[in-house]
């Protein structure tokens, strides 16, 4: 296939994927024609992911993390900015180029049952992407079996003819992962891959993803709202708030020395199981995440921020500062 040669050409230091001032806005209309404005789901996001690294985009619902994922997948057209994948601009890919691109990026959805077509068995679910990309019958069969082994649905014969409803939630998610892997992508995007699963199964799926990422040297982007699950499964964290990345650091650095007041609030709100938790109230910033239709001026967290500096935070848009080496925080306190 064509991408094999192009992958050989790029050098290892080049980032696999970059987002440059990426904006994905959704126009809101009433009755189909009255423009109400734009929901700025992704609003000026910059990052670059290395080959073989595992990162987590963490944020609450409505922070734009899923829109970001879908933009990276090419399911949403960026309003502004660009995604650079292996040195190529996504904006310049034609139809063919886009199809090849989608083969290089795997997607693991949040709700495994909803993500799998109910009327196809596992074999057909996994064969579909291969057919679209012109893989012959015997090669298809070989790759389907191999990928089922890889996601630990083995022996494969027990699963090939099962329909999604015959599988447990964990098994369904394994099928979704297998489908995401079958075209041998170099980037895997997992949008809340375990939030619909039970606690005891979650770790199993996260472990599986992590092992696959290590073995295949994939770039893995986790999208999650749960900071406590990322520690062992990601190298770096991007914290998102209201359409922007507010803090970036390696996992331990971020969890041990959170810099942005929003990240600090998130961490303070999270509980590790402990009987003493019941004894005291937690500190929680008031208010709610802002509307992405009309985000507040200046820093978007300022209306809720306990360290808000009047006349500064509500006026100036914070750029990224580096309060600690390699640790970026978009907060004017660090200026």
């Amino acid at each position: 296939m064509s991408h094999a040669t192009s992958a050989a050409r790029v050098d290892a230091d080049q980032p696999l994927v970059e987002a440059r001032d990426l904006r994905t806005w959704f126009e809101l209309r009433q009755w189909g024609f009255m423009r109400l404005g734009s929901v700025k789901a992704v609003d000026g996001v910059n990052f670059s992911l290395r080959r073989g690294e595992s990162v987590a985009f963490v944020g609450e619902s409505g922070c734009g993390k899923s829109s970001l994922a879908r933009t990276l997948l090419g399911l949403h057209q960026p309003t502004e900015g660009d995604v650079i994948f292996e040195g190529q601009s996504m904006a310049r890919l034609g139809r063919r180029g886009m199809r090849d691109y989608r083969a290089r990026v795997g997607y693991v959805q949040q709700d495994p049952f909803g993500a799998l077509p109910p009327f196809l068995d596992v074999r057909r679910i996994l064969a579909e992407p291969l057919k679209i990309h012109g893989v012959g019958r015997s090669e298809r069969e070989r790759r389907i079996r191999a990928v089922l082994e890889e996601v630990r649905l083995s022996p494969a014969d027990d699963y090939l003819r099962k329909f999604p409803h015959m599988l447990s939630g964990g098994q369904q998610q394994r099928v979704v992962i297998a489908r995401a892997l079958i075209l041998e992508p170099s980037l895997l995007i997992a949008d809340e891959p375990v939030s619909m699963l039970d606690a005891s199964v979650r770790v199993e799926i996260l472990d599986l993803l992590y092992r696959i990422q290590q073995r295949r040297e994939l770039t893995l982007a986790f999208i999650t709202h749960d900071l406590s699950t990322v520690r062992h499964f990601a190298d770096r964290i991007f914290v998102m708030y209201a359409g922007r990345i507010v803090e970036t650091a390696t996992v331990n650095e971020l969890l041990d020395h959170p810099q942005h007041p929003y990240t600090q609030a998130l961490l303070a709100a999270l509980a590790d199981p402990d009987p003493d938790n019941a004894l005291e109230l937690r500190e929680v910033p008031g208010g709610e995440a802002p509307s992405l239709l009309n985000p507040p001026p200046g820093c978007r967290f300022h209306p809720r921020c306990p360290k808000h500096m009047p006349g500064v935070c509500d006026v100036e848009d914070p750029e990224n500062f580096e309060p600690r080496p390699g640790h970026l925080s978009a907060c004017l306190l660090h200026r």
Partner: protein
Amino acid sequence: MAVPLLSVENLSLNYHTRQGLVQAVAGVDFEIRHREALVVLGESGCGKSSLAKTLMRTLPRNAGRPEGRVLLEGEDIMALDEERFRRQVRWLRIALVMQASMNALNPVVRVGEQVAEPLRVLRGWSRARAQERAAEVFDLVGISTDFLTRYPFELSGGMRQRVVLAMALVTDPQLIILDEPTSALDVLTQASIMNVLKRIKREQGTSFILITHDVATSSELADRVALMYAGQIVETSSAAEFFREPAHPYARMLMDSVPRLHQEARPTHIPGQPPSLLDPPSGCRFADRCPQRFDLCERDPGAFRKGDRRRVRCWLHAGGSQLS
């Protein structure tokens, strides 16, 4: 000793399905004292929501008749007929916040009216008096009383969850059953709802049954924990005992599967799956997945007493036997 607020004895519930009889709740015992919060912890399909629905008598049609006794301050409320249960118990003494009930608010009725409704229907209060009380509980759950006249669509998820909580509190019940009250909410919203619950517990002296699958969140409110597995309670302990040194092998493995912010050790998963409740094993229901299984596990262990109020359904904790 004082009579416990609620005492549940040998409660069982089956569902009739096309595949056969599903034993969702199989001989559950527990008690809650006044001002106490009990967390019923378990994974999906363990019967924890069925337990809540049985207590509230809001079971679906395919449910069989529950067996066992439920004593509310010593009175067997299972024996009450439907009308007496409705007039005397449901919502007045035991209220329920159901999973995702914030999405079940009536979209065309102002939230203040909805919160006041139980008082109008069950106590026959006038609109003005009921509204006054609704304003009080809005205060209690931390919503500005300006919101009384809003419609549900004008409120965020966190606000709607507070409204639902206000609806449960409005009759000042002795016990509130919360079924996964925060699982659909964001981290910060979740923390502030838990704060509200803690404050209500402290200030109003309300007792709670918190049903959840989320181990970390459960510790925010728990005085005691009942861990369910495949329709049975496998361990009942104080929160300190449960979160510090769980006794049942399932409890220990579950605690080890919880990812923690400040812990280097990697969480581990529990291999295998819970048994089907269509045909549960006759012995210990966790035996198949238990690394400490031995020959006795072929037989049902029953709940062993460990200390004053601790019960563990595991042969390893049979009287006099050694703990590994």
